[in-house]
Symmetry: C2
Subunit: 217 residues, 2 copies
């Protein structure tokens, strides 16, 4: 149906587009895909012909409804594969992304349907990212960065914003895992760093930067 390259363009546009339906610039897309802006301009013209995106010259691109559904389908596959790798094969959460980038392009409706069932219809991947259903519908629980809480505030750690292996292994190291209940003990005025309390009574200190990349609900 769509080439792997096309799928990667759609996915990149989807994530850059965010919730808003804003235009995505050629150069942002180029940066995200690791290609030159000129290559993006060429490719974009081809994808427009398939009615997956609209393109305003010198302004940027935007997914059509058809393109958005295609992008979500790929994200669904990516996240289901990440669940498989972590929950069934014993991968760590910082090791799965690259492999899932390949697996997400395997074409088989049946495969994904059965994988979903095999995994017990998970609603979030190992990073807490929501998994859309087969119709592309997300049932996203509202979440916000830990950094927005003040002293005394509580939340459950449900996801990360930064997905880099560096950040993920850091969280492993300080013993913070998805699902943990967090209570903010203190917020340092000077650098906005937080002292947080986990349910195992352990108290740890995290920088503002870290707290800003932890999603709680």
């Amino acid at each position: 149906m769509h080439s792997i390259t096309e799928e990667n363009y759609l996915k990149a546009i989807y994530t850059l587009q965010g919730n808003g339906d804003g235009l995505v610039s050629t150069s942002d897309l180029a940066k995200a895909l690791g290609v030159q802006p000129a290559s993006v301009t060429d490719m974009v013209k081809k994808i427009v012909k398939k009615k997956l995106i609209t393109y305003l010259k010198m302004k940027g691109v935007r997914l059509t409804e058809k393109g958005k559904l295609a992008a979500i389908a790929i994200i669904r596959k990516h996240r289901l594969w990440e669940c498989f790798l972590v929950n069934k094969l014993g991968f760590k959460w910082d090791e799965v992304h690259e492999v899932a980038e390949q697996l997400e392009h395997v074409q088989s409706e049946q495969l994904i349907a059965r994988l979903d069932e095999f995994l017990g219809f998970p609603v979030a991947d190992p990073h807490g990212d929501p998994i859309p259903d087969a119709n592309g519908v997300f049932s996203e629980p509202p979440s916000f960065p830990l950094a927005t809480l003040s002293a005394g505030g509580k939340g459950k750690f449900v996801g990360v914003i930064d997905h880099s292996p560096a950040f993920l292994t850091y969280l492993d190291k300080i013993g913070l895992a998805l699902g943990d209940l967090i209570k903010v003990k203190m917020v340092e005025e000077f650098d906005k760093s937080l002292t947080i309390l986990l349910k195992n009574e352990k108290s740890i200190m995290v920088s503002f930067k870290v707290a800003n990349n932890l999603l709680v609900s």
Copy 2:
């Protein structure tokens, strides 16, 4: 490392080459890959540069040791994925080949090692085809076509030669499954068809063509 196309060429050459180290002709390869002979000639020259095959103009190609190992690695992946699809996801043995053709090209040593472990280090795929180990070594149990047995002969059904969905679903229909013990009750002189006895006392008749595609040991 190698492109998907290159991998498919290596795999096709390996299976056409068989046990013997005979040369594989351009046109046989073209037929197997579903491309024109002229395309094969072009592609072959590129693969030669990577020292994966040797090529004698007007004669054919042959895998180098390096090429043979590469081909076996892909076959290993293909068969492990087929095990996964059947044993874990509940696919039927006639439904897995196409999906495995895609999954076999996913690049990750770790993925295959962990999948192998997850599956319990299987030695054969759902069609009875042997799975080489990580070093490319097969521990193939000797087998032969059921048709070579005469009346009174016994064997265990361990594999198929014909892998077509049509043949596989036919076997399902007559109730013949991998691992079944088979006793040859009678061989019809006229058309060489066999009457065979399964361990559940059921007696069934199979044509010579079918018996020739059933491997027993």
